[in-house]
Structure formats: C-alpha cells, structure tokens
C-alpha cells in the first residue's frame, strides 16, 4: 500500500506579532489536505495576508511551524525557502502582477525557467496552458493588450504550470467585475482539481469562498470554521 501523502499545508502553533507589539494570531493551527481548497476570510487588517506571507516563507513567524507538502519551513535559509516556494507553491494576486515587458507565454513560463528549464521546454508548456485557459494563439502578445480578467487567467496559468502542491491566492477576484470573477474562480477550481493542487484563497468575497471545500475565518482567537 503506498504511503499516505503528507498534507499540502500543515501549520502548527503559529504566532505572529506586528513590530509595534500587536499580536495578530497566537497558536494558530491549520491542515490542508492534498487537493483541498480552503478559503480564509476575515476583517481587513486581521492578518490574512500576513498568514499567506508566512506560509510562502516571505515572513518569519515568532513561533510555531509550517510545512509545505511535508517540508518544514523553519530553519530554512533564504535560498532554501526560495527554492521551496519555486517548486511547491503557486501564487495568484489581486493585482495580477504580470510582467509587462514579457510576452504572455514568457509570463506563464516564468516558474519553469526560474527552475532552470530552457525556453525549448518552458514555452511549449506555456502555450499548452494558454490553450487551457482559453487564450490559445496569444502567447506572443504582451500584457498591455489584455483585460483584467484575461490577465488573471494568465496569473492562474502561471501559478499552475509547474504543478505546485499548494496555490496561495490573495484576493484573486478583488479587481474583477462579478461575472469575470465567476469565470476566474471556475477556472481556478477546475485547473487546481485537474493538477491535484491544494489551494488557500484569502478573500472577502462570498462567491469566491463558495468554491472552497472549507471556509475558515481568521479572528483574534485563530482560524475558526465559518458558521453556515
């Protein structure tokens, strides 16, 4: 019998205070199973984005541990954390963050070329992703020619091209109109399911939260399931 897969994300006893001393959360626990999609909601300033930064290894917790697909972040050097992020994580941002001077295919292929894959491997994979997100044949276009919804589709393709264990999405529909948001969420869900990636989506949107397997609310007391 094959060994059970480790959780996509395991957070245990996480504590983080702001430089001024305000404690954002203390002793926070979270397990995300492989392929599971969870949504985290909460008031502005409660620490949702900080939690994502901690999970991504971009910030250091004051206490507690985080493991991505079984690999613990604690004690990793900056370079090792960078490698872990590159190989195991995918990111989708509210502001898209598509590099304006690269073509769409190059933007999507970035995680692969950052992992030292050549253009000969990375670009065909990016073109295949473009076809999956409904932008086939536009690989040589530049981001300036795209709408917000199209840009977010590019971001989703980029987040998934290297088959990460976990996708971190910070307000992925925050800059989109409701209809476009709907389509983007459907795409994110479908692609995550097809690649087997788990996802943590930080959002204020009930529609976005609706696609999740679980919805948690970050409060001063930690992560609690949202009352249905």
């Amino acid at each position: 019998m094959p060994a059970p897969l480790p959780p996509a994300l395991s957070v245990s006893g996480l504590t983080k205070a702001l430089p001024g001393g305000r404690v954002l959360f203390s002793g926070l626990d979270l397990i995300v199973a492989p392929g599971e999609i969870i949504a985290i909601m909460g008031e502005s300033g409660i620490g949702k984005s900080t939690l994502l930064n901690l999970i991504a290894g971009l910030d250091r917790p004051d206490n507690g541990s985080i493991a991505i697909a079984g690999d613990t972040l604690a004690g990793l050097s900056d370079d090792a954390a960078t490698r872990l992020r590159r190989d195991r994580l995918g990111f989708v941002f509210q502001a898209f963050h598509i590099l304006p001077h690269l073509t769409l295919a190059q933007n999507i292929a970035l995680p692969l070329v950052l992992a030292h894959q050549g253009a000969a491997v990375a670009l065909p994979a990016a073109h295949a992703m473009l076809a999956k997100i409904g932008l086939a044949g536009r690989g040589d276009d530049y981001p300036a020619q795209l709408s917000g919804g199209e840009l977010q589709r590019i971001a989703i393709a980029r987040a998934l091209i290297h088959r990460p264990a976990l996708i971190l999405a910070d307000e992925p529909t925050g800059n989109l109109d409701p209809e476009t948001a709907e389509r983007i969420l459907a795409l994110l869900l479908a692609e995550a399911r097809s690649t087997g990636a788990a996802a943590v989506i930080v959002t204020h949107s009930d529609r976005a939260a609706a696609i999740a397997d679980r919805v948690l609310v970050l409060t001063g007391a930690g992560l609690v399931p949202r009352a249905t």
Partner: protein, 844 residues
C-alpha cells in the same frame, strides 16, 4: 553568469527591459561609450606619438648598445674615444659631433621658433657603418650634407641645392648630396663628415657622443662599469633603457593627466549608469519582488541587475572602442601627436588598431558599468518581496535620518590619499583622492539635501507647490540624491578643473609679468657652444638708445641619463638680492663664504631633491663643480628643471664668456620699433640672422596662447564630461517625473491644477539644481585644492596660487538651476499630458 542564475529568465528580463525603455538604455550605453572612446583615443594617440618619437630617437642613435653623451653642448674631450675603444667587450665605437642647428635661409620667428631647426650630426662613416648604419648614406664629401626626408621638407630644399647651416654660433654652406634612407620620417637630421663638423663649427678636439656596440660575448654590466670609471665629469653613460625612461619621462605626466581626464568622463558616465540603474530598479521593485516570490534567489536577483549593468557596459564599450579609434584619427590629424601639449616635434604618428589596449578599455567600461550597478543591485536584492510587491517604488520613512557616515568615511579617505607622496613619479594617490572625494561627496548627498533644505522647511505660509516640492525632497532624499549625483559629479569636476586652470593661468601670467620686466628680449638661435662673445656684447651694449642691457648664458646640462637635460641660466644675479631677477618661492638661504650659490626651480626639488642648503655637483667647464642651493624660484617654462647662477660665477667656473640671450631696457625717449633693427645691425654678421627679438607684451600673449592651446584638449575633455553629466541629469529627472504619473493623477483628482503641479515640479527641479550646484561647487573647490597642491606639483613639479573664478561659479549655478527646473518642467508636461484618471488606475 554566476551559478544559480536561470539563464533564460535573465535573458528575458534583460531584453524585455531594453525593449521597453530603449532611450534610457541607449543614453546610459552612450555615456559609457563616450568615456571609453575618450580614454581609448587618448591612449592610442599617446602610445603612437611616443612610439614614433622613440623610433625617431632610435634612428638618431642607431643600433648602439650604449652611448656616452656630453653633459653640456660644449662636449667632452675626444681623447676619451681611443681609451674606450680599447676596453674589452667594446666591438665598435663611433665618435659623433651632435649640435642643434638651423638653416640660415629660414629666419627665426618668435611664433614659429621650431621652423628651420635640424639636428646636425658629424660622424666617421667607416666607424658609423658598424654601429649606426641608418645614419650613413652615399658619401657627400667634405662639402656635402645628407638630409633626412623630414629635414628636406622642413628646410624646403631639394637635392643638389646649397644650404647654410648655423650651429654653435658659426655657419657653413653645404651642398645637399642626398637623402638618408634609414632615418625616421619624423626626425629632421643633417649628417656631415665629423672632421668638417669639428672644423667648421668650433668643435676641434670635442665630441658630443660616442656610440658603442658591444661584442656578442661581452658582459654589458662589466663594460658599463669599466666605461663609468673612465668617464670625465662632462660626460655620462646612457643605455637604451635609460633612453626609454627619458623619452617616457618627457611627457609621462602630461599623458597620464590626459588619460585621467578621459577617465573622468568615463566616471561621469558611470554616474549616469548608476542613476539609470537606480531608477530602473526603483521602477521595477514590484517586478523583482514577484520574481523573488516565484522563486528567484536573492543572489540571482543581484546577479541579474549586475548582468544588466555589464551588458550596458559591453554595448557601450564596443561602441566606445570604434568611436575612440575614429576620434584618435581625427585628433591626430587636427592637434598632432601630443594633442597640443608641445612635447613632441612635427610629424603625424601612425595609428593602428591596438587589440590589447582596446580590450583593457572595454574591460574598464564594463567594470565601471557593473560597479555603478552594484548599489542598485544590492538595493533590489535587499528589498522584502512581500512589501515591495504592493508598492510602486521605494517607500522611505520621512522621519528616518539619512546616513552620513559612508560619505564621511570616503571623504576622510580622500583627504588621507591627498597627503600621500607620488608613486613612480606620478600622483596616482592624488587621482585616487579625487575619486574618493567625488564618491564621498555624492554619498553624503541624502544627508546634505536635508541639511540644506532644513532652513526652508521651517518656513510657514509657503505656496502649496513649493511646500509639496520641499516635502517630497525631504521625504525621499535617496531619490533626490540619485538625481543629484549627476549634477554634483559633473559640477564638481568642472569646478575643480576650472579653478585649477584659472589658478594656473593666473600664476603663469603673474610669472610672465615678473620675468619680463625689460623692453626687449634677444635670443640667439643655435648659440649653444658659441654665442655672443665679449666684444660683440660690448658692441651691442653701445647701441644708441639703450639704458641698460643684461646678458644671459643658457646651457643645457645633462645631469642624469634617464632624464631630459636641465637648463643652466647664468645671468646678472645680485647674490644679496636674487629676488630682483627671480620669482623666489620662500626665503633664500644666506650663502656660506667660499660657496658658489645657485637658485633652483621647483622641478629641481622634486626631480633631484635639490633642497635649499644642500649642494649639487654640476658639470661646468669640463669638471664637476660643487654649488650651494641658496633658494627656489618659480619657473613654468622648464618642467624638467632649471638652475640660475650669477654670470660672474659661471664665467669663473667655465671660462665661457659667450652669451645666448639679452634683456634690454630702452631709454624713455627711444622708439622700440626703431631700436630693434639697430640692435640687429650691431650684432656680428653670423649671429644677426639668428637673432630673435621679442617684446614683453607679444611674448606674454604668445605664451598664453600656447598655454591655452596646450589646455585645449583639457577643456574639450572637461566639456564632454559636463555634457554627459547634464544629459544624465535630464534623463534622471525625466525618468523620475514619468515614474510619478500616478502621483500626479491623484493630485489632479483632489483638486491640484496642472499649473500647480508644473510649479511644484519646477520648484523641485530648481531646488535640486540649487542644492546640487552648491554641493558641487563646494566639492569642486576641495578637489581643485588636490589638483593644485597635489596633482600638479607631483606631475609637473610646479606650484601655483589658488584663484577662484567667482563669475564662473555664479554663471554655473544659475545655469544649473534654470536647466534643472526647465528639464523637470518639460518632463512634467509629458507626464501630465495623459489622462489623470487613467494615470491613477494605471497598474505597474
């Protein structure tokens, strides 16, 4: 590329940035290209000129392994020749008479004193054929002279024509028998039979040179030692190595100075690259943050920005090498091989492509671009990705004090370097001091911006535009410093050079006034070894209309084989009051009884350590004569040293009563223009044609013209450095303003008018121009002190009094404020031309 950098990603990022901002890339690469071009061109011209000068010298010296040379134009006794010929190891030896000469048919001209001059060489062809074959041609007989091609051209004569040559105060007519086939095309040489030279030019029993060829199995060190023991006081031994050092020392400081000036242009280009890279990094902060989030290691990001700098440097350097080669061709054809410095004679050096130096200068260009990118690269790598991802550009806390210590440390190191002595005779640490001061000055800019703006910030009730401008400059001093570094670098370099040149020119002018107090000056061309005898002096002094006349004997003395000769000037100096004839520096020493006093130029202090109170041994009258250094005088004419001595002492020591110069004061009622022809008529017939008369005003004007000509290339290099700096300032302002489009959109939303934003930008530009100009002025004056008190004395061995050109300072400051405000306004107009609403919503 360093390990760990994803090559494909690096290439995409680089090409993407270049495609998006080609103008900025081209500007930065051009700045490097111009710096590399100037450095490479100056080097090519210098190297080629030096090479052709050395070839010219070697054609005079032939293939001799070593030479014995006369310490004075009077030569040494020819009895030395057979003694050296008998030494073991000496295979061949050729006796030579060598005299500076001129053609009688070309009248000396104060504005073109070099015209008609040749080096007259008398040799024994049977001896010379084994040692200096290039000087041996078809036999010309006793009345024949062989000329080099350059001499034929310079003297405007054809083969078969008669020509009268004047040397050592005597003249003799020859028939041009042919051309010297082996002589350098640059060197004007006339070769005659040695006996003819000795007989007709008063050199009987005297020689100026012995060319020696060693046997194949001879030990050069042993032969050198044996020769040295036999040498009389008025001869010295020279080797090819010493010759090479002498040739090199002749113009080395000038060449190094020019190359350093060219490097200044490259350094200014480096600041432009720094500014372009800083802005680019600030603008791309979120992009770099994204790459870090997606998995680009910190070191790889650092390498990415450095590689971008290196690519800029490579592009600029390749262009610069091509430009430099073309520039060198133009400069040589227009200014000559010494670029107007007056170190080398006529003749255009040959310029070929030099792969070695090209690679070195291209390497320097790349290194400058990479070093300039280092700080922005570190800044990019150090940024926290999560924070940078959400901000467009650097967000500083206005309350945070700007760091002063890095700049202070650099300034202190610069001050220390300025105190250091020369290295290998060159002010290398002086140049390092300039670079450190410049870097220190630029590094203190963020703190200085706040210091200078502090009084303005305390003012209340300012117009909104000025208030906003002040708040922005105060809140983002690092960004202000990026814009300022170009202004400060170019202003300070310009001010430093301007102060140095103004001080130098003013000091030269004062010196000319001091050394030219008489009404008329007489110089006898080709008077070395001869000149005006006492009877001729008496006849000249008796010319009606003369109030007084002071005769001077000038004799070149060779004190070291590897240095150019120094000039001994014997003149009527009052031992008790030498300051009446010499522009003394410091107080002269009292002369001990029984000593022969001399007063040395400042160069003698540096080159021969001839400090007041010490003794020198001078080769005068065939013996080494001890003299007492009684004082130091200022002399801008002879970079390699001059010694003044009372004429009575010189006649006593040398027995030479001949004179080569005279300073004449006319009676008040005498017409100078009529007196000069009368003086010429009073001269002996042989010398009258060689007499050069000058009047102080004319001589002063000519000297200053020569000064300006020799500084022409300096002015040009300086101007180019300033243009690069100003282009950098314009590019920086423009880029910074365009990067703030969203800020302007927001201001327009909340009710600030276009006019008010324009006024704010104009005020920011003017304030930056003012702060940068003031800082550049202060830094420039400090750097000029290094140039005046360190670089110049160590390079050229003379001092000067500091003069500050206040008028230029005022004009420069005004121009800077107007240019900076104008550039900011123009860039602002572009930034405000778009739709303000779109600007606010614009992402990235």
């Amino acid at each position: 590329m360093t390990a760990g950098v994803p090559v494909t990603a690096a290439r995409w990022m680089l090409l993407g940035e270049w495609r998006a901002h080609p103008a900025r890339v081209v500007t930065a690469a051009l700045a490097i290209a111009i710096g590399v071009a100037l450095g490479f061109a100056v080097h090519l011209v210098n190297a080629s000129a030096l090479d052709s000068f050395e070839r010219a010298l070697s054609s005079v010296n032939g293939a001799a392994d070593m030479q014995v040379r006369a310490a004075t134009p009077a030569g040494f006794a020819e009895a030395l020749y057979p003694r050296l010929a008998r030494l073991p190891g000496v295979a061949d030896i050729s006796p030579v008479v060598e005299l500076p000469a001129r053609a009688a048919h070309i009248a000396p001209d104060i504005a073109g004193a070099g015209r008609g001059r040749v080096t007259l060489i008398g040799l024994d062809p049977l001896r010379a054929i084994a040692v200096t074959p290039s000087l041996v041609g078809r036999p010309g007989g006793e009345a024949g002279v062989l000329l080099s091609r350059a001499a034929l051209d310079a003297l405007d004569r054809r083969i078969g024509r008669r020509i009268t040559l004047v040397a050592a105060g005597r003249s003799h007519a020859f028939t041009i028998a042919g051309v010297l086939p082996g002589a350098s095309t640059d060197q004007a040489i006339a070769v005659i039979d040695i006996a003819t030279a000795q007989w007709h030019f008063g050199q009987l029993g005297r020689l100026q040179r012995l060319d020696i060829r060693l046997g194949s199995d001879a030990d050069p060190v042993a032969v050198r030692r044996a020769i040295t023991t036999l040498l009389p006081a008025d001869a010295i031994l020279a080797t090819p190595e010493a010759d090479a050092r002498r040739t090199d020392s002749l113009s080395r400081a000038y060449r190094v100075n020019l190359e350093m000036l060219a490097m200044v242009a490259l350094l200014t280009g480096g600041f432009l690259v720094y500014s372009a890279q800083s802005l680019s990094v600030a603008r791309r902060g979120p992009q770099f943050a994204l790459l870090r989030v997606l998995g680009l290691p910190r070191r790889a990001l650092l390498a990415q920005v450095l590689v971008e700098g290196a690519a800029l440097g490579l592009a600029g350097s390749l262009l610069g090498i091509a430009l430099g080669q073309a520039l060198a061709d133009v400069a040589v054809s227009r200014l000559g091989g010494d670029l107007g410095g007056g170190y080398f004679g006529a003749g255009t050096p040959h310029l070929g492509f030099a792969p070695g130096p090209a690679a070195v200068f291209a390497g320097i260009g790349i290194i400058v671009a990479m070093v300039s990118s280092l700080l922005p690269a570190r800044e990019a790598a150090a940024a926290a990705p999560a924070v940078a991802l959400k901000t467009s550009g650097a967000l500083g806390d206005p309350r945070r004090a700007a760091r002063l210590w890095p700049g202070a440390v650099l300034l202190a190191l610069g001050g220390l370097a300025a105190l250091a002595p020369p290295i290998a005779g060159l002010p290398l640490l002086g140049y390092a001091a300039m670079a450190l001061l410049l870097a220190g000055g630029v590094a203190t800019m963020p703190a200085l911006v706040r210091l200078l703006l502090a009084p303005l910030r305390r003012l209340t009730g300012l117009p909104p535009a000025l208030d906003l401008a002040l708040k922005r400059l105060w809140g983002a001093p690092q960004q202000a410093a990026v814009a300022l570094c170009g202004i400060v670098a170019s202003t300070s370099l310009m001010v430093a050079m301007a102060v140095m040149v103004a001080s130098f020119r003013g000091s030269v002018d004062d010196w000319l006034v001091a050394i030219l107090p008489s009404d008329i000056y007489l110089h006898l061309e080709g008077a070395e070894g001869g000149g005006l005898d006492p009877a001729g002096q008496a006849r000249l002094a008796a010319t009606p209309g003369i109030a007084s006349i002071a005769f001077v004997r000038q004799v070149p003395l060779r004190l070291a084989a590897d240095r150019p000769p120094v000039l001994l000037s014997a003149q009527p100096i009052d031992r008790a009051a030498p300051g009446r004839r010499l522009l003394l520096v410091g107080t002269p020493r009292p002369v001990p009884a029984g000593e022969t006093p001399v007063w040395v130029s400042e160069a003698m202090l540096w080159l021969y350590d001839a400090r007041p109170g010490t003794r020198l041994m001078l080769p005068i009258g065939g013996r080494l004569q001890p003299v007492f250094v009684a004082g130091v005088w200022r002399d801008y004419a002879r970079q390699f040293g001059a010694i003044a001595m009372a004429d009575s002492d010189y006649v006593r020591l040398s027995g030479d009563a001949g004179k080569s110069e005279a300073a004449i004061d006319a009676r008040p009622d005498t017409n100078i223009d009529r007196l000069i022809p009368a003086l010429r008529r009073a001269l002996p017939p042989g010398l009258a044609e060689q007499a050069l008369f000058g009047q102080p005003r004319q001589m002063r004007a000519m000297a200053l013209t020569i000064f300006d000509r020799s500084f022409a290339i300096t002015y040009a290099l300086e101007a180019i450095a300033i243009i690069i700096g100003l282009v950098g300032v314009a590019a920086t302002f423009s880029a910074q303003t365009l990067a703030r489009t969203r800020e302007f959109g927001m201001l327009r939303h909340i009710g600030v008018s276009r006019r008010q934003i324009g006024a704010m930008l104009g005020a920011e530009g003017a304030l930056l121009g003012l702060v940068g100009g003031l800082a550049g002025l202060a830094l420039g004056v400090v750097m000029s002190l290094v140039l005046i008190h360190v670089v110049n004395p160590q390079s050229f061995h003379w001092t000067m009094d500091t003069r500050l050109p206040w008028g230029l300072f005022g004009t420069l400051l005004t121009a800077l404020v107007v240019a900076a405000a104008g550039t900011a306004l123009l860039a602002g107009r572009r930034a405000l031309s778009g739709d303000a609403v779109r600007a606010v919503r614009e992402d990235w």
